[in-house]
Symmetry: C2
Subunit: 221 residues, 2 copies
């Protein structure tokens, strides 16, 4: 049986869960309190982070490398386009959400509000929360700009870039940090991706002590 060691509000785990589900690869989920650096877990994964995927005789870490592996070993359905330039654009946006969006927004909002308490690292830092609330506006506007002449973020087909973005936004939506009224295009895009069967397990996530926003799992939000 394939096993994914994960943490519910990790956008990187969510990105991998979406890829696995879209490709119809069954996987057992094991919640991993990775910040406690359990020796068994550290042996499986010297980087000490989630996701870790046990599959095909490997113990894999690094969500970007995992998604590329899934794409090559399980190409149906394709989550990257065929043309190298279109593939570049999808990967550029995966990097944008995994790196820039995560550090500027998700770490500052969901990270401060939930993870600090769960991990026992103190109270939310209000200057970080303020910076995150400001940055998300810019990022939503950038997404709206991309969606002006594209059906999905990287072009006219759904790609890993949409999963990378939806993984971040769904964490932020759990903590009511997304203003869905800011852009009709972004809201429509999220409604489309949220209604996919691959999204179901993510909408069922619950972190003890933190109730998700009322509309979190609602397909008409």
């Amino acid at each position: 049986m394939n096993t994914l060691y994960h943490y519910a509000l990790s956008p990187f785990c969510r990105k991998v869960r979406l890829s696995l589900a879209e490709k119809k690869i069954e996987v057992g989920l094991v919640e991993e309190r990775y910040w406690e650096r359990d020796p068994d877990f550290m042996r499986r994964n010297p980087a000490g982070k989630v996701p870790v995927l046990k599959m095909d005789g490997m113990t894999m870490s690094d969500s970007a490398a995992i998604c590329e592996y899934l794409e090559e070993a399980y190409p149906t359905p394709n989550l990257l386009p065929r043309d190298p330039k279109a593939r570049f654009e999808a990967r550029r946006l995966v990097g944008w959400f995994d790196d820039k969006f995560y550090h500027e927004v998700t770490a500052m909002l969901t990270g401060e509000r939930v993870n600090r308490k769960v991990m026992g690292t103190g109270y939310p830092d209000s200057s970080n929360v303020k910076a995150g609330a400001k940055a998300i506006k810019y990022h939503l506007d950038y997404m709206a700009f991309l969606l002006e002449d594209r059906r999905w973020l990287a072009g006219n087909d759904m790609t890993l870039a949409d999963f990378a973005a939806a993984a971040q936004l769904s964490c932020l939506d759990y903590t009511s940090d997304v203003d869905w009224n800011r852009s009709e295009a972004v809201k429509d895009w999220y409604a489309k991706i949220k209604s996919r069967p691959a999204f179901r397990s993510i909408l069922a996530d619950e972190v003890p002590g933190f109730t998700p926003a009322a509309h979190y799992a609602d397909l008409d939000f």
Copy 2:
């Protein structure tokens, strides 16, 4: 003419420069003081970072996406293995050096010692320098562990993982932050990669106001 907007001591630019040179793709280098957020540069690259590569009618950012593009559009020589599992291992290590190693080591040492002064953000933070000096030992040991039964970091062939690692280490070597006596295997590996023609332009880099370590460009260090 292809153009790479770069900053000499950015490991991500160095990784792309090594890929380009190994594939014999000619490129003009333009030094970009990206932290000054020049409006022209920001228009080319909304993420506001380097490297940015103008090539094949595209303006590309994100070093990981750029390297994957180069690999697909210019496959000779291959810098990723053919087998999906071996490709996973190479990409996992690229992620390790780009993300973990960079944040734990390069940002703490070269970042504090040089970039702060160049970018005018104050004096080095000595607790960061201390943390980086401690972390590099662990990372050199991890590399030595990998090299115990591999010729290169990800297996028996040279891959992007070696370039990702050498890009970080060469920045640290500029500021004399690598103890090459810690592991014979790591030193031998670096000597091999440092002597490749692709490395020449990196060994000629100079940042005004910071003289490189005496052995920086020496192939017998």
